[in-house]
């Protein structure tokens, strides 16, 4: 990169540091009071992490001019009472038509895989990556409700049924519908929690900074926030029984599993009590590293599609636009 960037960085150094780290002017006394009000200090008790299942997915898509190659995979990691090990896996490689929706569709397919792993591996406590709001937020296009007929058995199948639809638009809308059906199915089973390590939500403190940032600044020890209840609006689709089941409530709370470590945001369906939060904390704390549940780290690193993997997959398929010059910048291919 050109040296002007470093010159500019040096010139602006103090301002950059100030903008990035100076909180005091912006955060009021009320924020501190509110933190004291909702934060419950709690020291987790050792508990056998047996029966904890963690699921994460990885994805990759590469657009070439004639189509988009996609790769999705997901893994379920289980603690059997002795150790934390992979228990179940899924993967799919395929092609979407060229277009703007391919990346979204790859993401939906990955989420479907994660949900299917959860349904096929029932466990007392299932950890998923992400948030309920994001999972249920995709808007259904009612013109495609007829696809539900072909998706009825999706909670029993290990295949992503939507990928068999005829047209690209059907595949896309079906992926969203299939997602909702699987989340409805999960909602009715045992305890599943969604854990998010990066959340920009501001609904607790209504500040410019995220709830996570404020909690990380104003608390240091282990503990959790009193749960906040959200209502799920299924909107105009409530005449469809399979989708109506999605309606109801979910709870959100923040948690710190070990002193000085990061804050996590946790979502669960239904209304959760403080006793249940403490039970979940105990389970997670017993198999965590630096405040993050180890099974999720394990799943995450297994499903990650590395740079080497990407190159290998594309070379197996055969690059469309390979100009055969190694120094050629990859963006120009």
């Amino acid at each position: 990169m050109i040296k002007e960037v470093y010159n500019n960085l040096v010139d602006n150094y103090l301002k950059i540091k100030k903008d990035l780290f100076a909180f005091s002017q912006e955060i009021s006394k009320e924020t501190q009071d509110k933190v004291n009000d909702i934060w419950v200090p709690y020291v987790p008790k050792p508990e056998d992490p047996k029966g904890v299942l963690a699921i994460d997915g990885g994805m990759f898509s590469k657009e070439v001019r004639t189509g988009v190659v996609f790769v999705v995979n997901a893994e379920a990691v289980y603690h059997d009472g002795e150790k934390t090990e992979p228990k179940d896996k899924m993967a799919r490689v395929g092609v979407f038509k060229p277009g703007n929706d391919a990346r979204d569709m790859t993401g939906y397919a990955m989420e479907l895989m994660e949900l299917k792993l959860a349904l096929h591996n029932p466990s007392p406590l299932i950890l998923m990556d992400g948030s309920i709001k994001k999972k249920i937020g995709k808007k259904i296009d009612e013109r495609y409700l007829y696809l539900l007929d072909q998706l009825k058995e999706t909670d029993k199948s290990r295949e992503i049924l939507s990928l068999e639809m005829k047209t690209e638009t059907e595949i896309k809308n079906s992926l969203i519908l299939e997602n909702k059906l699987l989340i409805s199915a999960i909602k009715e089973r045992g305890r599943t929690v969604w854990i998010s390590k990066k959340s920009r939500s501001t609904d607790v403190f209504n500040s410019f900074y995220s709830d996570m940032t404020l909690l990380e600044l104003f608390t240091r020890g282990t503990g959790y926030t009193k749960p906040k209840i959200h209502f799920i609006d299924v909107g105009s689709i409530e005449e469809v029984p399979e989708l109506k089941k999605l309606g109801g409530e979910y709870s959100t709370f923040y948690v710190r599993l070990s002193n000085g470590s990061m804050i996590l945001r946790v979502d669960v369906f239904g209304r959760i009590t403080c006793d249940e939060i403490e039970h979940i904390m105990n389970k997670l704390h017993s198999d965590s590293i630096k405040g993050y549940p180890y099974p999720l780290i394990k799943a995450h690193s297994d499903v990650k599609v590395s740079k080497d993997d990407r190159a290998r997959i594309l070379s197996m398929i055969g690059r469309y636009n390979n100009l055969g010059v190694s120094w050629w910048p990859s963006q120009f291919r």
Copy 2:
């Protein structure tokens, strides 16, 4: 990555190849006829590339919980009659507040820098990366038109004036306004062409595949397509004189500079004639590598923010969330 991905790739190998490369069923005889109709074979003549200026920008943004560090830089590369060399450069490092708009805002700032380099280095032929449609497409929020007062001199200044606005929302809206002002200014100067190497536009053939893909399949030699004229609708803001100037026409054509190389899409303001297209082709061809103008490649590689640059800049500023464990996956930081 888990081995299931490779298993699935092997299982689906033939289908993936077929989906990615099989055109014949989908592309009709009419497409072939239409290509013959608009494609003009033309062998570029050697012409002194003196006076060609190429501009490209690079950017990088990294979100930490208390803000978003951004880096933008741009370079103008000039052919002085003897060689192609950097002529002018700009760079800026700063911080946006945390939020969803930071990436967009970084992009706008980079585009502003590219436009300012074009205005400060007048040349007979200026090459920019991208398309006119994308540059003029950002929608103005009329509530922020009052900011225009502070932006009046932007075409004369080397600074991005918008970054001095008071609130984050003002900065964002001002970046969009400043962009429009600079494009208006450029439109009134000498010949500037926007070159896009990856375009999904389908407005020529109205096919599922992009115009570029179809031209790459149905033509091999050097040549260009007859220009297509687009009308720029300035919409409801035409009562603002500075912005009204943006209205009018622009032309789009596709071009191949050397046999077998890729197709480029070119946009220019106004109505272009075939003679002018051939003149531009001659200029570009004389300083191109594998059908892509060398000055743009040079600018691109100079402004690129590499992985090493990113790491160095972040370590100079000081990571907010550094947990001090080297094996810790970067996504968890």
